[in-house]
Each structure stands twice: as structure tokens, then as C-alpha cells.
């Protein structure tokens, strides 16, 4: 056996093609009109169309349709039976048409046709019973085992039954309890009882006696028996299979169930498909042995399953992939005994039969176009070219240029701070709003020259400062659009701010999906963060910058236009930090311009005040100088041994406030530690919490729970408490991170203008990147440690004199997973130390002083010689450093008293430096790597290739 087709014998489309047909819309019945009569097929739609067909032969013929009429109300069901007592012909059946509020009993009358026309039928109203409630179905039968006459009862939507007995005698029967969804009611003649499907998904059996009696007595209806079916039902039928037994066949939503009329389960068959409708019938006569109970179930995917009892005996499929029929009947139509009559939801009426015509699934042909290789190759080539074009990154400058052409950004910030900010609108925290800090206005204009699929603008502000827009996204931007955004920048958190720079990053996808990023930056006015105050005479940290550029006038007004008039020649400017810090203590920074020289002295007690001021001085100098247009600084790649070109414009005195910076790092580190500790503690509590919860869940109901509940409560309280603490610490951490930001930025700005090899400056600047970042797994210190370590062991900043750097590297690798803070701190300190030393020794600013140097060199050289030979290799890296005079400090001390930071340099250090210098001189020419222009890390943060890196390292090894 396999899957077969249901062969079509006769089919017709009913007059209403809408989805208006249901189970009860199909009826196969005889009316006793002629002697050799076969089944009529009656179809009634829910729009009121009634049709009667009488198939004669294979294939539909116009004469097969005997009647077509329109009822005034929807037809809910069609029934045939001996509904009327006073009919002579005892074979005659009447047609009962169930309408929502009435049932009409018709006599069917045949009108003989002439010649070709065929016969016709006519309906004569025999009786009409009206009722108030809308009907759902009808149950008919020889209630009370009356002979020769069928009674019926109408099942209403609300579950009540209305019985119609004799002519016009009717009574209502209301079941107690809540109403279920309407479900069919079936009558079993053998036991004279009704089966009703209750709301609790039980099948209940009521005897007719009880029902009719209870009407009189109004007693409650007690079912004779009740059996749980456990699911909703689709349909139900009663079939008499034996003399002494009827079967109730129930098609459930998931199972096919059979009970006998005493409520005993015959079988319950789990269906592995979604059933739609079914019919059950007996082949043979029930009073004879060998009668077979057959059930046909139609599944949702138009398969017909035939079962004998619970065993499948046949499966067939409707060949066209039409929706499954909603009603099925077995019927003896003319010339086809045992035809399968089905009705589709849209009125497709079909009479079919089972045949050994195997079902063959026709695989839909794939319409794949024949591939033309030449064409495909061309397309592929084109695509690959496009891809190549998009991902070719060899010429970054050109790419960036192109990108900047596609989206033109112009981003400016007004240099006047203003106070009229709508703090409410911007959702500013109250503690900030109260201070009424000044804000700045900015404008971003962007012109889009090429069509873009996506464009995103992101504003990056330093921590604590917020922009009124932080991200803007656009989709499908047409070419030629220009947009303008008005922006407000304002302080949103009371933090130390390390930079005034605001970056706008435009990232966009072209229509082909090629991503590009361009960025622009602008600076916020300092007046947003400082206000003028009395300059301070003395301070803890003093820095000196000397402007060496000829194009920049060393006046305060040049740099601090927000605070000073253009023409003013004030020499001292005191600025007080506006926003952050402790309430009581004011953080003041003083900038003093030397009267007669080109130096600035910047002094303050607080590390945090410096960053923005230094940024302003350095950037403004470089900016003014390059706008004067002498040397293009950025485009040239730094070469080995070239001095920091910044120095040609301005130079910082080689002093780094190491201790305050280290102090900031210490504090930050401690906070990190305490966060970790707190997190661990929370984790522990949380584990406890989970364990307790689990215990509570697993505890059986009888055990007392008080102790456990108390534990849980106290644990919970603690959890909340510790959580709050963590929040508090995190807030502190944020503050400290910003402080550290300022400190690192300070160091960075100083180093930026130090008299060092440019490479060194670049490397150190890239290591000391701001803003610093803490990750949950890795604090800033930990993430910095490898870089600092590297600087410590390799390159010009190496401190150690031992030549066995390999050993150091190994030791380093071993201790990698345990972060040693003291070691990090030490390295950090020595790094700064080294930088200062290096920077303070080789100075080319005053070439005439260099003449003094050689003599000094010669003096110290012999003492250092032994050690230094071992260091030769390492020092080759510094071979490019020019000789420089030793006595830089005399130079400095001449200008301002505070510039003297001489206590940093003792004699030993200087001598050591001198010693180095001799070595440079000696090895300069011999180094074979000298001509290689490889760079270690360049300013664009391009990673060097491995070879470059290795060869670079090789020099120092």
C-alpha cells in the first residue's frame, strides 16, 4: 500500500464561491420520489444558497442540478428524515433546512422533465418552527423509540436544546453549569440517549427519559455516565455496529476516539496530522456478522485516511493541491455505489472513489536559467573589481580624500560660552543644573555629494560634557542633500574634563555597501570650564613652555582669547576651574607670560587644571604656525633619528609632575581593587541568594519555612546594601578616571613638546592615550602594563643596563597573568624619569653651546666605558640623536625663577647621559640598519609589518 489518489468521478462548483460552507452544509439523502432512487446531494451555503444535485454519470452535466434556490437567511444545516407524521409514502423523507431562527421542513416534489430538460424538484413548505435563540445544529432520531416518525431537537449556540416532538410540541432543555463552546449533540437509538460534549471536555450521556421528565420536574440533569475526552472535538457520530452495541465515534482535535454506548473506551488513536472532518459507516449490516466499521478522516493537507476500527487501511490524496474539504459523506449515487462525496469550503462539490492510481508528487520544475559562462565570468569580474575597489586600502590618503569629498563636513563651535541653556529640556541632573554652568553652541553642516545607503553622525565629547545630539542616523540619503544641525554642548556631570576637543565622526555606507569614516573636530571654548580669577604667586606644579616659532606672538591674548582682549598685554592670567572638584576648594591655574622672553609658565596646585590649558597652548601654537605655512608637519612620515618637529615651534621644559600623576594612578588603582572586591562579595551573596531560593523551591509544602524566609530576607537586604555600595564606588571610580585622564593628558602634552626624537614622542604618546578606558575584566593599569613594560625593556627609553634583554622578556612572559601593580608603578615612574632625562640632555636649540660638550664627554667617557660596551647594541637605536649641550638648565634659569626644576637632575644622571652620548657618536656610522626607514609605531597608528617590527626589535637586542 502506498499513497493513492482520490479519483474524481463527478464534480461541480456550487453557486456561491465564497468561503461559506461547513460540515452541515452537505447532505446526501433520498426523498422517496421514485422507486430506483439513489442519493441526492444537497448543499446549502451560509449565504442561503440551496442546491440539490443528482449525479447521473461520470462528469457533471447540467441536468444533474435539480434545484437551486435562495433562502432569506443563512443555512446553518441540512437534514433529511421523516419529520412529518401525515405522509402517505412511508419511504418519503422531508428536507429540514435549519436557519438561524427557524427550522423549515420541506416536502420535496419532483416535476418530470420533458425531453432534454431533465427532471426538476420543487420545495413545498410543510412546517416551520421558529425559535428565539440562534441555532447551531440539529439532532434527529426516533426519540423515545417511536416508530415511523423522527423527532428532532435543535442545539442552540448557548447549549440549550429545543425539542420538537409531534407537530409543534416543543420544549426547551437547559443544561446547568457554564456553557461550553457549541458542540454537536448526538442521539443513540439503541439506548435512547443523547450524547453531549460538556464544557469540561467530558462526554456526557443523558437518557431521553431523564431529559423529557426533568422538564416537568425541573430537577437537575444528571448524566447517566460521563467520560473525560480531554480535548476539544471536531465532530461526533453514532454508528450502530452490532445488534447490542452502538459506537460513538469522536474526532477530537488530536485523537480519534471511539466509545461504545455504555461509555467504555474502545480505542483512542493519536493522529499525527491535523484532522478536519470525518465520517464513519458500517460496511454490511449491523445485524449480520462481518459488518465492518470504517471511518474516513480528512486531514488538513487533503489526505484521506481510511481506518477499519483503529487500523489504517488506505490513504489517498486529492491530486490537485487544493485546500482540504470541510465535509465528507459516503453515498450511493446513481451508477456509483459508495462514492465519497466531499464539499470544499468554497463550495467545490466532488464525488470521488478510491482507485489504485498511485499518488505521484510532481516536483515543481526549477526554472534555473542556463548559465552562460562568458556572461557569468564577466559579471563575476565586474563584481570582483567592485569589491577590490571597495576594499583596497593601499592608498589611505586618497581614500580619505574621496570620502571627504563624498560627505563634506564643516563643524564649528562658537568661541563664546553662553548661559541660556534649557536645562530641563536637556535632562540635566539637578546637581549640575544648579551650578548654571556656561554652555557652547556649535553648528555642523554636512553636504552629501554622493548617494548613501546609510549615514551616521556621532559626536564624541570628553567625559562630563554632553552634546544635545549624540547620534544621528539617516537611511537612503540622496545625493546633493545638505543638512545643518544646531548643537548645544554643555557640562552634564561634575567631572574634571581633560580636553576641549569635540569630535564628530561621520560613518557612511555607500549604496554599494562600501563603508567609509571621516572625522572632524572642534574645540570648546575654555570659558565653558574656567573663569578668570586672581593669579596665584606660587603653586605646587610649575611648567614652562617656550614658544620657538617665529609666527606666534608669545602673548597670553594669543592663546586665551576668551578671557583677554586682543590688545591686552597682561602677563599673568589666573583661571579657576568652574565645574568639578570639591565644593570648598577652588582649583586655580595661573599662566604667566615672561615679559622679555618667549616663555610661558603655567602653574597650579592641581594636576587636573592643566590638561585643557596645555592643550590650548600646544594646539594653538601648532595651528598658528602651520597656518603661517612653513612646514607641513603631518604628512611627512617621521624618520629615525629626527627630532620632534614640534620643538621647532614650542618646547616644554623637561619636567613631568611624576608624583601627582602617580598618585592619581594609585587612587584609581585602589578604587579598581575595591570594585573587584565588592563585585566578588556581591557574587558570593548572589550565590547564597540562589542557593536559598533553590532550597525554598525544593522544600516540600509541609515543612516550616519561617527560618528560610528570614534568611532570604536578610540575605536580600545585604545584597541590596552591597549593591548600593558598588554603585557608590563606581561613581567614585568615574570621577577618578576623569582625574587620571587629566593627569595622563598633562603628561602627554608635555611630552608632545619635549625635545626628543620624534619617534619616541610618537610611541609614548600612543601609549599614553586618553581618554583612558577601564574594562570589567581589565583595568587601565593592567591594559597599560604590557606597553609600559615594552618601553621599559626595549627602545631608547630602556632603563636597565643589563644586556640580557632576552632573559627579561622571558621573565616577563612568565608573570603575565599575575598583574604586579608595584612593578607597573615602578616602570611608569622610571619611564617618566627617562623621558625627562633624555629630553633634558640633548638640546639643539642653542647650537653654540654644543661646543662645550666634547670636553665634558671625554672626561666622563673612560669611567663608563666598561659598562657601555655591553650596551652597545641596545643603544644603536638612539644613534640618530644629535649631540647636545649639557647645560640646558642655565638656559632656563635665566628667564624666570620658577622655571628652575633643577633638583630633578643630580650630577650622576647627567654624567650617565653624557656617557650615552659618546656611544652614539661612536656607533653611528657602523650600524647597518641605519638606512632602513622602518618605523616602530607611527603617528597614524598603522601597525608595522611583522618584519619591520622584528627588524626594529633586532636592533635593540
Amino acid at each position: 500500500m502506498s499513497l493513492f489518489n482520490v479519483c474524481s468521478w463527478w464534480s461541480a462548483q456550487c453557486s456561491d464561491p465564497g468561503e461559506e460552507y461547513d460540515v452541515a452544509s452537505l447532505l446526501c439523502a433520498r426523498f422517496g420520489l421514485e422507486t430506483q432512487e439513489k442519493d441526492y446531494i444537497i448543499v446549502g451555503s451560509q449565504t442561503g444558497q440551496l442546491s440539490i444535485y443528482y449525479p447521473h454519470n461520470r462528469g457533471f452535466d447540467a441536468t444533474d442540478l435539480l434545484l437551486e434556490t435562495q433562502m432569506e437567511a443563512p443555512i446553518i444545516g441540512l437534514y433529511a428524515g421523516k419529520f412529518s407524521g401525515n405522509v402517505r409514502n412511508e419511504n418519503a423523507n422531508q428536507l429540514g433546512v435549519l436557519l438561524p431562527n427557524a427550522i423549515i421542513i420541506y416536502n420535496v416534489v419532483a416535476i418530470g422533465g420533458l425531453a432534454e430538460h431533465g427532471a426538476q424538484l420543487r420545495l413545498q413548505v410543510q412546517a416551520e418552527h421558529k425559535f428565539q435563540r440562534v441555532s447551531f445544529g440539529l439532532c434527529q432520531g426516533h426519540f423515545g423509540q417511536v416508530k415511523g416518525r423522527e423527532f428532532f431537537c435543535v442545539v442552540h449556540l448557548d447549549g440549550t436544546l429545543t425539542f420538537f416532538e409531534q407537530d409543534g410540541i416543543s420544549y426547551e432543555c437547559r443544561f446547568p453549569g457554564h456553557r461550553a463552546l457549541p458542540a454537536p449533540v448526538a442521539y443513540c437509538e439503541r439506548t435512547d440517549s443523547f450524547f453531549r460534549f460538556s464544557a469540561t471536555w467530558d462526554l456526557q450521556c443523558f437518557s431521553y427519559q431523564d431529559l423529557s421528565h426533568s422538564l416537568v420536574t425541573k430537577s437537575s440533569y444528571q448524566p447517566t455516565w460521563s467520560q473525560g475526552v480531554g480535548e476539544g472535538i471536531v465532530d461526533m457520530r453514532v454508528v450502530q455496529v452490532k445488534e447490542n452495541c452502538s459506537n460513538i465515534m469522536i474526532l477530537g482535535e488530536r485523537n480519534f476516539i471511539s466509545l461504545d454506548d455504555n461509555g467504555k473506551f474502545n480505542f483512542m488513536l493519536k493522529l499525527d496530522y491535523a484532522p478536519k472532518c470525518f465520517t464513519s459507516f458500517v460496511v454490511g449490516y449491523y445485524w449480520e456478522p462481518g459488518a465492518r466499521l470504517i471511518s474516513a478522516i480528512i486531514s488538513d493537507s487533503s489526505k484521506l485516511h481510511l481506518y477499519e476500527e483503529a487500523n489504517i487501511i488506505w490513504a489517498a490524496q486529492w491530486p490537485n493541491q487544493s485546500p482540504a474539504p470541510v465535509a465528507i459523506q459516503r453515498s450511493n449515487v446513481q451508477n456509483l455505489a459508495g462514492g465519497i462525496v466531499t464539499l470544499g469550503a468554497r463550495g467545490q462539490l466532488e464525488v470521488g472513489y478510491l482507485g489504485a492510481d498511485p499518488f505521484q508528487f510532481q516536483v515543481q520544475p526549477l526554472n534555473v536559467e542556463e548559465l552562460s559562462f562568458a556572461q557569468a565570468h564577466k559579471e563575476l569580474q565586474k563584481l570582483e573589481d567592485e569589491i577590490k575597489e571597495a576594499v583596497d586600502v593601499r592608498d589611505m590618503d586618497a581614500l580619505n580624500q574621496q570620502a571627504a569629498d563624498q560627505v563634506r563636513l564643516s563643524f564649528t563651535i562658537e568661541q563664546e560660552a553662553n548661559d541660556d541653556l534649557d536645562t530641563l529640556l536637556l535632562d540635566m541632573p539637578a546637581d549640575v543644573a544648579v551650578k548654571e554652568l556656561p554652555s557652547a553652541k556649535g553648528i555642523l553642516r554636512c553636504k552629501i555629494k554622493a548617494e548613501l545607503a546609510e549615514l551616521q553622525l556621532v559626536f564624541q565629547t570628553p567625559n562630563g560634557v554632553r552634546c544635545s545630539q549624540d547620534t544621528l542616523s539617516f537611511v537612503n540619503v540622496p545625493a546633493g542633500t545638505s543638512k545643518e544641525f544646531k548643537l548645544d554642548f554643555y557640562t552634564a556631570e561634575l567631572l574634571h574634563i581633560h580636553s576641549t576637543k569635540v569630535e564628530v565622526v561621520a560613518s557612511f555606507l555607500s549604496t554599494r555597501g562600501i563603508p567609509r569614516v571621516i572625522q572632524q573636530s572642534a574645540n570648546l571654548p575654555l570659558s565653558m570650564f574656567y573663569r578668570i580669577c586672581q593669579p596665584q604667586k606660587a603653586a605646587g606644579i610649575k611648567l614652562t613652555y617656550s614658544i620657538t616659532s617665529r609666527h606666534v606672538s608669545p602673548k597670553l591674548a594669543t592663546f586665551f582669547g576668551e578671557f583677554l582682549e586682543e590688545k591686552s598685554d597682561t602677563h599673568a592670567l589666573g583661571l579657576q576651574l568652574l565645574c568639578p572638584g570639591l565644593e570648598k576648594q577652588s582649583e586655580v591655574i595661573t599662566v604667566v607670560a615672561a615679559k622679555n622672553s618667549n616663555r610661558f609658565r603655567i602653574q597650579s596646585d592641581n594636576v587636573e587644571t592643566f590638561a585643557m590649558i596645555l592643550e590650548r597652548i600646544v594646539e594653538r601654537t601648532l595651528q598658528l604656525d602651520s597656518s603661517a605655512g612653513l612646514i607641513k608637519m603631518d604628512k611627512k612620515k617621521p624618520k629615525r633619528g629626527v627630532l620632534n618637529r614640534c620643538v621647532e615651534r614650542l618646547m616644554a621644559a623637561p619636567f613631568l609632575p611624576t608624583q601627582p600623576i602617580l598618585h592619581r594612578i594609585d587612587v584609581h588603582h585602589e578604587t579598581q581593587q575595591s570594585i573587584r572586591k565588592q563585585t566578588d562579595q556581591l557574587e558570593e551573596l548572589w550565590q547564597q541568594f540562589k542557593t536559598l531560593q533553590r532550597q525554598l523551591q525544593e522544600q516540600s509544602e509541609s515543612e516550616p519555612k519561617e527560618a528560610l524566609t528570614m534568611q532570604i530576607e536578610s540575605n536580600y537586604d545585604q545584597l541590596i546594601l552591597e549593591g548600593d555600595k558598588l554603585v557608590e564606588i563606581r561613581r567614585d571610580e568615574r570621577k577618578q578616571r576623569c582625574d587620571l585622564n587629566c593627569a595622563v593628558a598633562l603628561a602627554k602634552w608635555i611630552i608632545h613638546a619635549l625635545n626628543l626624537e620624534e619617534r619616541v614622542v610618537n610611541v609614548v604618546s600612543s601609549v599614553l592615550s586618553v581618554p583612558i578606558e577601564d574594562w570589567t575584566e581589565l583595568s587601565w593599569e593592567e591594559s597599560m602594563a604590557p606597553g609600559i613594560d615594552m618601553l621599559h625593556h626595549f627602545g631608547p627609553l630602556t632603563r636597565s643596563k643589563s644586556s640580557s634583554t632576552h632573559g627579561l622578556l622571558d621573565a616577563n612572559a612568565g608573570s603575565r597573568d599575575s598583574f604586579d601593580y608595584s612593578r607597573f608603578r615602578r616602570h611608569f615612574a622610571t619611564l617618566f624619569d627617562r623621558i625627562v632625562r633624555l629630553a633634558s640632555s640633548p638640546v639643539t636649540v642653542n647650537p653654540e653651546k654644543g661646543k662645550e660638550e666634547p670636553s665634558m664627554e671625554e672626561k666622563t667617557a673612560p669611567t663608563q666605558q666598561v659598562d657601555e660596551i655591553g650596551n652597545m647594541q641596545r643603544m644603536l637605536g638612539e644613534k640618530g640623536l644629535p649631540l647636545a649641550p649639557r647645560k640646558r638648565k642655565t638656559n632656563m634659569s635665566s628667564s624666570l625663577e620658577a622655571v628652575e626644576d633643577d633638583e630633578e637632575y643630580d650630577e650622576e644622571d647627567l654624567r650617565e647621559d653624557v656617557g650615552y652620548r659618546k656611544e652614539y657618536g661612536a656607533t653611528d656610522q657602523k650600524n647597518p640598519h641605519n638606512k632602513k626607514r622602518s618605523e616602530w609605531v607611527n603617528e597614524d597608528f598603522e601597525l608595522p609589518t611583522t618584519e619591520e617590527l622584528f627588524s626594529d626589535l633586532g636592533i635593540w637586542w
Binding site: 461547513d22 443563512p74 463552546l181 480531554g230 485516511h305 469550503a345 505521484q360 526549477l366
Partner: protein, 549 residues
């Protein structure tokens, strides 16, 4: 006029019921929505009154209804005047009141329709997969060592060099296991496979499967479909108080199924179960349910099993079975025993019912599955053959036999069975993929690519596509076109970036073409995805030993 209006409403209700009966659940729900809206506009209160017949319960009910009445009956405060204008003719006057019973009926009908729309037989689904989705997912892959994808042997053409392929195949074979072609399960041997769900077959129920773990459910819950439906507030499971509904026995079963299948909120369904059982326990034993209802015990077991408490589910199911031999109970009990690693006991349970109903394929299939889970392939195959004899259009058995043949190095026979499944009308990308593989190893090379083409054309889910590309890479490897193999694998990764097997094989291919660093990084990626896979570990070790990096 009022009565005419009422008749219209009732007729609409009838139509809704009729639609429900015809399985047009979407339209039924729509119609119900309209009715509910109308009823709401007429301020009909749900579940506030009871039948007069139940006088003695009346008082008590009244009290409690007023409690949850506020929960359920209102959709939202709405001025009466606006309602009359907006909702059209149905409710144009205050005189027309929709009767409460009608409102409740509609409410229940919609709930049933929503449930039925997304109903997936949880017993059709593989618990194994369910279990695997949690933590043991990768253990399963690791238990069957993948032959031949280690670096030395990767290029020997042999059937199924990967467990992944095996999965793909078995998944495909399991698809459409119901004889109906409902395409909903992944029966034989599929373990770590996200079930394809019934989404393929039923329009509108694209939400995959109702699956056991409550945690994963939120996203897949069908409740998401109610967005934009004003009446959806009537069906908010989160606001439902189980103890209140437990006593409304006409409603509670439907409500349970709604929670379990539609909302997929097993936790809630479970607490409803508990509440109902509690109510039944407290009832005087003289009344109708002197023993606890088997239905509720079965559902309790179902919930507990889905919540991964198989041991607690067992007594409930045993009791349920004692009072009524429902097929689901047998299957659930069998699942329980399988879950607690006692497959023999599962066999005993199923054996019992098989003795009484020897020709019911449901139980035979379960038997076969248990045997397969116990890795008794022979017994399993014999049972599958029996099923195929009893029920020749049972796709699951056919597919399982095919898989058996395939691994028995008999791809031609497997192909026969797969073609049989195809001729039954069960069309799925997995099936095409399997046919293609059978063709490949059976030597019918000309059919391989067209079948894969079809598979790709029919595949909709990214997971399916990934599997097909993965299997295509084997075709490429077999034909020696390593470039194509690489591309296939890369395409596989674009569909499923977490495909460890593909990453591993890419590594092997990369190593073979000399790109050792690339291979290493692929292997590391594979390691991230499948930390326990034996091949990846072996390959990594091999690389460590033989290549200096």
C-alpha cells in the same frame, strides 16, 4: 430591533464557531475580535455573573469575580459616546446588550483559536533537542567522533566526514515525519538541532516550536502576534491569577492549553495545574471527581517534564495512567524515563500498551525511538520497518530506515526511501539535501547538483542554508575542487557564523593550501564555538606538534 441586533451578534458567533471548525483560525480570531470589541463597547462584563442554577455557589463566586473582574473584563477606559460612533452598526444603541454568555463564549473561542493556530504536539518533538539546547549541546557533538576531518585524513573521500553532515541528514530525514507531510519534526538521531518547528507548514505560526524551557520562551511566544489588537488585553497571561481560574472548570482546560501552547509560559501553566489539583483535592470526595482528574495529572506531568523535573513528573503521570490510559500519558512517561536515563523502563511502559494495541504506530514509533536512543540500531530499524508496514505513509519510519541504510554504506537503498518520501509530497530542503548526498555517494553524480540546487532554492532558514552549503563543500572536496569547497564553507559561515564544523574544515583546507596561520586562526575560532569537539582539539594539537608558529 434589539432582538434583531442580538440575532446578528449570535449569527456572527456562529460564523466564528464555523470558521473554527474549519480550521480558519486567523479569520475566526478576527471575527472574535470584532465581537469582543462590540461587546466591550456595550460594557459587557466578562465572568461577573453565573448561572442562576448554581445558587449555592453564587455568593462565593460573586465575591471572587468582582476581584478578577477588574482584571479581565475591561479593555480600557473608553467614553461611552465615542464607542457608539466608532464601532459601527453593531452597537449603536445602549439598549443592545450583548449577553454575557455570548461574550464569554467569544472570549473562549478566540482563546481556543489562538491556541490551535500555533499548536504543536510537544510529543512530536525531540526532547533530546530540548535538553541539548540548554547546556549539553556540544557534548553531544563531541560524543560521536567525526571521522576524517582531522588534518591528516580530511581529504579521503568517505561518506560523511562530519557529524554535522550527519545531523543535517538526519534532520532532513526527520522532517515531515507525520504522515501528513506537516513537516514538523526532526526525529531520527537529531540531537543538537534547533527544531525546524511547524513554521513551514502552517501559515501564521512561524514562531517555531513551543519548547520546554520557560526561559527561552518569551521571544518565541505567540503572544507577540497580538500586537495591535485592542482585545489582546483580555488575554494577558502575565496578569492571570491561577487560583482564581482554577475553580472555573468550564474554562480552565482551555486556559491551560492557551498558556502552555500559545503563551508558551510553562511556569504559569504549571501553577495553574497546581491550583486546579489543589481545588480538586479540597473537594468533598463524594462529588463527581472522587479521584483526581487524569487530565490534570497528565498536564502536570507535561509541565514538569518541560520544566526539567522529570522525577517529579513521574508520579503524576503514573497516577494519571492508572485512571485513564491516554496515549499522550504513555508517551510522556516514556520521555520521563528516557530523560532520567532509564530507557529500559521506558520500553517497559511502552511495551505494556503495545501488548494491548499492537497495531498502533504511535507506540511502535516510540519504541523504535527508544531503541535508537539506546543505540540498538538493529532493533530500532526492525521496528521502523514494522511501522512502515503498518502505516506505509509514515515519513518518520521511512526516513529512519533510509538513514540506517545510508550509514550502512548503502546509499542506493537510502536513496530509494528518500525518493519514496519525496513522492509522498513531503518536500523540504533537508530532504533534497539528503537525496543529493545519497546520489553523491551512490555514484549518480548527475543528480547531485540539481538536488542541491533545489535544496538551496527551497531553504528559507539560515540554519538550513548553512547545512546545505556545508554538505556542498563535501561534494567539492570529493571532486577535488578545494577552492569551491572553501567557498562553500565560507558561504556556510555567512549563514551561520557559529558553525564549528565548517570552521574546522576550513582550517584543514587552509592548512592544506599552506596558510598555516589562517588554519590556526580558523581552528581557534572553531574552538571558541565548539570547545569540546574532539576534531578541533586534535587538529590544534597536531598543529602545535608539527608546525612552529
Amino acid at each position: 430591533m434589539a432582538s434583531a441586533m442580538l440575532a446578528t451578534l449570535e449569527l456572527d458567533y456562529f460564523r466564528a464557531v464555523s470558521l473554527y471548525r474549519r480550521r480558519s483560525y486567523e479569520r475566526c480570531a478576527e471575527l472574535c475580535n470584532a465581537l469582543l470589541q462590540a461587546g466591550h463597547d456595550g460594557h459587557v462584563q466578562l465572568f461577573t455573573t453565573k448561572e442562576v442554577e448554581e445558587e449555592e455557589q453564587h455568593q462565593q463566586q460573586q465575591a471572587e469575580h468582582s476581584r478578577f473582574g477588574s482584571n479581565l473584563q475591561r479593555i480600557g477606559p473608553r467614553p461611552r459616546g465615542a464607542a457608539g460612533g466608532g464601532a459601527g452598526a453593531v452597537d449603536s444603541g445602549p439598549s443592545i446588550m450583548m449577553p454575557t454568555w455570548l461574550m464569554e463564549g467569544v472570549w473562549q473561542l478566540k482563546m481556543r483559536a489562538l491556541t490551535q493556530r500555533v499548536y504543536v504536539d510537544d510529543l512530536d518533538e525531540d526532547d533530546g533537542g530540548n535538553e541539548a539546547t540548554e547546556e549539553v549541546e556540544f557534548e553531544r557533538i563531541a560524543t560521536a567522533a567525526r571521522p576524517g576531518s582531522s588534518i591528516k585524513t580530511a581529504f579521503q573521500p568517505r561518506p560523511l566526514t562530519s557529524q554535522r553532515a550527519q545531523q543535517a541528514r538526519s534532520r532532513g530525514s526527520g522532517v515531515a515525519h507525520s504522515s501528513d507531510g506537516r513537516l514538523n519534526s526532526s526525529r531520527p538521531g537529531s540531537a543538537a538541532v534547533a527544531r525546524p518547528g511547524t513554521s513551514l507548514s502552517r501559515p501564521g505560526s512561524s514562531l517555531g516550536s513551543r519548547c520546554g524551557t520557560a526561559s527561552r520562551i518569551r521571544a518565541t511566544s505567540a503572544a507577540a502576534f497580538n500586537v495591535g489588537d485592542a482585545t489582546s488585553k483580555l488575554y494577558q497571561a502575565s496578569r492571570l491569577n491561577p487560583t482564581i481560574y482554577a475553580e472555573r472548570e468550564t474554562l480552565v482546560k482551555a486556559l491551560f492549553q492557551f498558556l502552555y501552547y500559545h503563551e508558551a509560559d510553562v511556569q504559569k501553566a504549571h501553577s495553574l495545574c497546581q491550583a486546579v489539583l489543589e481545588v480538586e483535592r479540597q473537594k468533598p470526595s463524594g462529588s463527581t471527581g472522587c479521584t483526581l482528574s487524569w487530565w490534570w495529572q497528565q498536564q502536570m506531568g507535561r509541565c514538569l517534564l518541560a520544566l526539567h523535573y522529570p522525577r517529579r513528573a513521574e508520579p503524576f503521570l503514573q497516577q494519571s495512567l492508572a485512571s485513564f490510559p491516554h496515549p499522550d500519558t504513555y508517551l510522556l512517561l516514556s520521555r520521563v524515563y528516557q530523560r532520567i536515563k532509564q530507557p529500559e523502563r521506558a520500553l517497559l511502559v511502552i511495551g505494556e500498551v503495545v501488548d494491548s494495541r499492537p497495531f498502533d504506530v504511535t507506540y511502535r514509533l516510540e519504541q523504535a525511538r527508544i531503541h535508537q536512543a539506546m543505540e540498538q540500531q538493529e532493533d530500532a530499524l526492525q521496528l521502523y520497518r514494522l511501522v512502515a508496514k503498518l502505516h506505509p505513509i509514515n515519513v518518520e519510519s521511512l526516513a529512519s530506515i533510509a538513514v540506517g541504510y545510508f550509514y550502512d554504506n548503502n546509499p542506493e537503498m537510502a536513496l530509494m526511501y528518500y525518493r519514496r518520501i519525496l513522492s509522498l509530497g513531503a518536500q523540504s530542503p533537508e530532504l533534497y539535501c539528503n537525496i543529493a548526498l545519497c546520489c553523491l555517494y551512490g555514484g549518480q553524480i548527475d543528480l547531485v547538483l540539481p538536488c542541491f540546487q533545489r535544496a538551496l532554492a527551497t531553504a528559507t532558514q539560515p540554519g538550513q542554508k548553512a547545512d546545505i552549503w556545508y554538505n556542498l563543500s563535501f561534494v567539492a572536496v570529493t571532486s577535488g575542487d578545494f577552492n569551491l569547497a572553501k567557498r562553500c564553507l565560507q558561504l556556510c559561515l555567512t549563514s551561520d557564523a557559529q558553525n564549528g564544523a565548517a570552521l574546522n574544515n576550513l582550517a584543514v583546507l587552509a592548512a592544506q593550501s599552506g596558510d598555516i596561520l589562517g588554519a590556526k586562526s580558523y581552528l581557534n575560532a572553531a574552538k571558541d564555538v565548539m570547545p569540546d569537539a574532539a576534531e578541533v582539539t586534535t587538529n590544534l594539537q597536531f598543529m602545535d606538534v608539527h608546525y612552529k608558529l
